[in-house]
């Protein structure tokens, strides 16, 4: 059997005054504990004004580092309940985000979407309170902006200009070559 020694047999019956003494003593001990807590700081917090801190690894509502995301859909494929949906349009290297939604009616906070991410851009956050008056409010949008940002627009324009320039240069080169060939003939 267990290594711990067996508990002691029940105590013998006490006398009448023994019982009285026992009652007084146990009441005093019990009230002593109660009074000690009366002057101690409360353990409870005034939720939702105050919140207890959650741990670093806490699995709450996701957050997305949108500038890192490359729209590879690895997280959506890894999700057992298919709660992640996303849409974006590619302009060369830049992404024009339409939406990146997580349906928290389905999500079971298993963190399986976090591991396959090649860019390490989706994380489980620390927020846990999900309260809504309508079911559609549980579908959260994780993107912070939609469409192209100003910087992206500049980059896209630059890339397009570069591409156009390259194309023009190629065309010019081809034309020059044709001219040369024509001259030779």
């Amino acid at each position: 059997m267990a290594s711990l020694q067996q508990p002691a047999a029940p105590a013998n019956e006490r006398s009448y005054w023994g019982n009285v003494w026992q009652a007084v003593k146990s009441t005093a001990v019990g009230l002593g504990i109660t009074f000690r807590y009366l002057w101690s700081k409360p353990f409870t917090v005034q939720y939702p004004d105050e919140k207890l801190p959650t741990d670093d690894r806490y699995r709450g509502i996701h957050y997305l580092e949108q500038d890192l995301c490359i729209y590879c859909q690895a997280c959506a494929k890894a999700c057992p309940v298919d709660c992640i949906s996303m849409d974006a349009k590619r302009h060369g290297k830049e992404l024009e985000w339409n939406f990146f939604r997580v349906d928290y009616q389905k999500c079971m906070f298993c963190e399986l979407c976090v591991y396959p991410c090649p860019k390490d851009c989706i994380h489980m956050g620390r927020e846990y309170a999900l309260v809504a008056e309508d079911r559609s409010e549980f579908v959260l949008e994780l993107t912070t902006w939609q469409g192209l940002t100003e910087a992206q627009k500049v980059r896209v324009a630059e890339a397009e200009a570069k591409k156009a320039a390259k194309k023009a240069a190629k065309k010019a080169a081809a034309a020059a070559k044709e001219d040369k060939e024509g001259e030779e003939k």
């Binding site: 059997m1 267990a2 508990p7 741990d55 690894r57 890894a78 057992p80 906070f109 963190e111 489980m124």
Partner: protein
């Protein structure tokens, strides 16, 4: 059935309650919403006055098609679903499933991962037994010990939250190792808990288990004989409470249990007959101490190193074949029988839940008992309906 009727000589301390007047039988629905059934279980009781004359369990209120889901999601994607059969011991469920998949794959995880797995499984066993004993007190009328039990469970949940981020459904022990390594300071937190727990354990024992009222309600109630427990396929504290010395951790050791020193607690009729409700709780109580010892040894022996098998990625394709692995869950043997055809989705995923088999016997214990003992007997089986229905 013939072998389950209660026709046997009375044991010492048992009273035969007999009524001179037979009244009309009354059918009582215990559940599906009843605090003592620990979930949505419905037991249809038939009572003649205060004496039960029949009982029938109706399952399926929490049936979530786990086995069918297993045939439609990836091997790894099924992991969060394992949390949900026995939600009080989710770490053990993860472990059982991961071991079965690893058997299909033919891999053994690194040693550090094995030690962390054992620590988590044993802490989860303490966590689960705390709820089992605490709510059992609640079932039969002792309100306070429940809060004492949940106080220590809170510390354990903090430990789990620190390592995996979740407090109930962990999805942490994955095929191939662990999701993450233990963070800094985690082992110290576990060590502090093990030191604290032995002191606190004494409180539950004095307050609840060795309480005269508790003993009166549980001793000699719902006695399961050794033969009955074996024939009905009971496992875990149900089997050990009936005096059968069987523990998969010792008798079919997996992970690193063969290097750890612990005792298998067997019911011995400390306050009544062997195999009564008291013995099942007695086994759970002492198992918590043994788990505590195991955790302490693991912390000492745990090596540094990898926590993940290097070959195992996120999409698994086990070779065609089959594997059965059963491990010792807090409630008994949790087995997974997996059949693979070489693809990334299981061909058949069978879950053998301990509560399922244990509950099958419970309805045969009830006829002949007092109506008030129904809660005591069903509570002592310690079912989690998530597992009986899956």
């Amino acid at each position: 059935m013939d072998d389950t009727t209660m026709e046997r000589p009375l044991r010492e301390g048992e009273r035969l309650v007999e009524l001179d007047v037979r009244t009309q039988d009354v059918e009582i629905n215990m559940g599906p919403q009843h605090p003592a059934t620990h979930g949505v279980l419905r037991v249809l009781l038939r009572a003649d006055g205060e004496i039960l004359t029949g009982a029938q369990s109706h399952l399926g209120y929490l049936h979530r098609c786990a086995e069918k889901i297993g045939e439609s999601v990836d091997w790894l994607q099924y992991l969060p679903y394992t949390d949900r059969y026995d939600y009080l011991s989710a770490m053990n469920n993860n472990l059982a499933y991961s071991l079965a998949v690893e058997k299909l794959l033919g891999i053994e995880v690194p040693e550090r991962a094995q030690y962390i797995r054992v620590i988590l499984a044993e802490l989860n066993r303490i966590c689960s037994h705390l709820v089992a004993v605490g709510t059992y007190g609640l079932d039969i009328g002792a309100f306070t010990p429940f809060f004492y039990a949940l106080r220590e469970r809170e510390l354990l949940l903090d430990i789990f939250e620190k390592i995996c981020g979740a407090r109930l459904t962990y999805a942490f022990i994955r095929p191939g190792g662990l999701m993450n390594d233990a963070p800094a300071g985690w082992t110290d937190q576990v060590r502090a808990f093990t030191d604290l727990f032995e002191r606190k354990w004494r409180e539950y024992w004095d307050l609840l288990v060795d309480n005269k009222i508790f003993v009166e309600r549980t001793a000699n109630v719902g006695v399961i004989s050794e033969e009955q427990a074996i024939a009905w396929g009971c496992t875990g504290p149900m089997l050990r409470g009936s005096g059968v010395d069987w523990d998969l951790r010792r008798d079919q050791p997996y992970l690193v249990y063969d290097r750890l020193d612990f005792e298998v607690v067997v019911g011995q009729g400390y306050r009544g007959t062997v195999g009564d409700c008291f013995d099942r709780n007695y086994v759970r109580m002492y198992e918590m101490l043994e788990s505590n010892r195991i955790v302490r040894q693991c912390l000492e022996q745990m090596p540094e190193g990898e926590i993940q098998h290097p070959e195992v990625g996120l999409v698994l394709r086990p070779a065609p074949g089959e594997a059965y692995v059963g491990i010792e869950n807090p409630r008994g043997e949790l087995g997974h029988y997996l059949v693979s055809d070489g693809n990334k989705i299981a061909r058949r995923l069978r879950v053998r839940g301990p509560s399922f088999s244990n509950l099958a016997l419970a309805e045969h214990l009830l006829p002949g008992c007092m109506l008030a003992d129904a809660a005591a007997i069903i509570g002592s089986v310690d079912i989690v309906v998530g597992e009986t229905d899956r």
